[in-house]
Symmetry: C2
Subunit: 232 residues, 2 copies
């Protein structure tokens, strides 16, 4: 089944709001304005929230822009253009694997001026899953292993890469790294993930309640948290 292309006007608006929210989140951790001004901004934030809450989807209803079969998930918390939590990572296909380039703000901080260790694992999980998808495979994360070689600096150009190293039936093994863009061969973080396609009965149990934006049953045949990969 060919999926319908996303509504361009809605996609542009969701992308615009995602960008605006990301800048607001980063400003909120860097600001040193006084408590009165923080309270004033919080009041403004609540008024905007009310406008968005005027009409909402349910937890089992996919966003109108999403298509899990095409791996399009606009609110994915790592790669979604509409997600305020996501940098977002734009994942490209190259050299038999995938890569992403980014620079991360203080909102992602763990130790002072460095990336939170758990954020490295979050980004790697997404990138490893995307490498499986790019290789025509997919699965849900079954195991994830990370070795932290050196801290990852914030506000610094980074390169993340991943490629499938093993593919046996329902199981795919993927490896990846996080490095400085200026030293892409020295891994700061190394990751290995095992992705397993759930058996049909499990997939049905997990996703039977999922509907599309119109409310029609739409349990995805290939549900995943991976996202669209830009062609080479």
């Amino acid at each position: 089944m060919q999926s319908a292309p996303p509504d361009p006007e809605l996609l542009a608006a969701v992308t615009d709001l995602g960008s605006a929210l990301r800048a607001l989140v980063e400003a909120s951790v860097r600001t040193v304005v006084d408590p009165g001004e923080l309270r004033g901004v919080a009041t403004g934030v609540r008024a905007l929230t009310e406008r968005l809450e005027a009409a909402q989807r349910g937890v089992h209803q996919l966003p109108a822009l999403d298509d899990p079969v095409d791996f399009r998930r606009v609110f994915n918390p790592v790669s979604g253009v509409g997600s305020a939590l996501a940098p977002p990572l734009t994942i490209h296909q190259a050299n038999g694997g995938v890569f992403a380039r980014t620079s991360l703000g203080l909102a992602y901080e763990g130790p002072p001026a460095f990336l939170h260790g758990g954020m490295s694992s979050l980004f790697m999980d997404q990138l490893l899953g995307a490498a499986a998808v790019a290789a025509g495979l997919w699965g849900m994360t079954a195991r994830l292993e990370l070795d932290y070689r050196a801290p990852v600096p914030l506000l610094t150009p980074l390169e993340m890469r991943a490629h499938v190293t093993e593919d046996s039936g329902r199981k795919t093994v993927v490896q990846g790294i996080i490095a400085l863009a200026e030293a892409p061969d020295r891994a700061l973080v190394e990751a290995r993930g095992v992705f397993v396609m759930p058996r049909r009965d499990k997939a049905e149990a997990y996703f039977s309640a999922i509907t599309d934006a119109s409310g029609q049953a739409a349990p995805p045949g290939r549900p995943t948290d991976a996202t669209a990969v830009e062609p080479d």
Copy 2:
């Protein structure tokens, strides 16, 4: 050295803005308002961002409320009261370990209606680090391993636990799980982390540029991405 208590007025305002932002982020992924309204909200968001950007700290300057020696990090992306990315997890000490209870919104979604696999690893990294801190130890994440037994549902009460299993000099091993609050002994996700205290020369190299809010040199002696743990 005893650290100064945080400014209560500033802490309350940062907490208020953090809560408001979290609700805005969740509303932004659940809303189905039309593109024009999304654009209008984005314009409002940008105006609020400008107000926060009127005065900002630098990347090496700690927030006024933070005290890494006390493990107080108000913008920590997992447990920080001021972080829009954080649920936030409130981490308690009990039974020789730590635990947190939470329920996660659609902003954290991976597969439809379930938690993103990388989010499980992010939360576990934080909780495992907090267990080390609660045991009087600390370190930076050196290795993290996760086994995903079953998907973690969104909008469902969860319990996360962790405890130190091994402590040998600079190295601490911690194990933890994510479970449903109603079935706390059945692990949906199992995690194991190795935390290592960096050697003095490395710690100095990593953190020598860090200053306190007033701009005075304040390289933390025990830098960590862990956070305050509520006493039993």
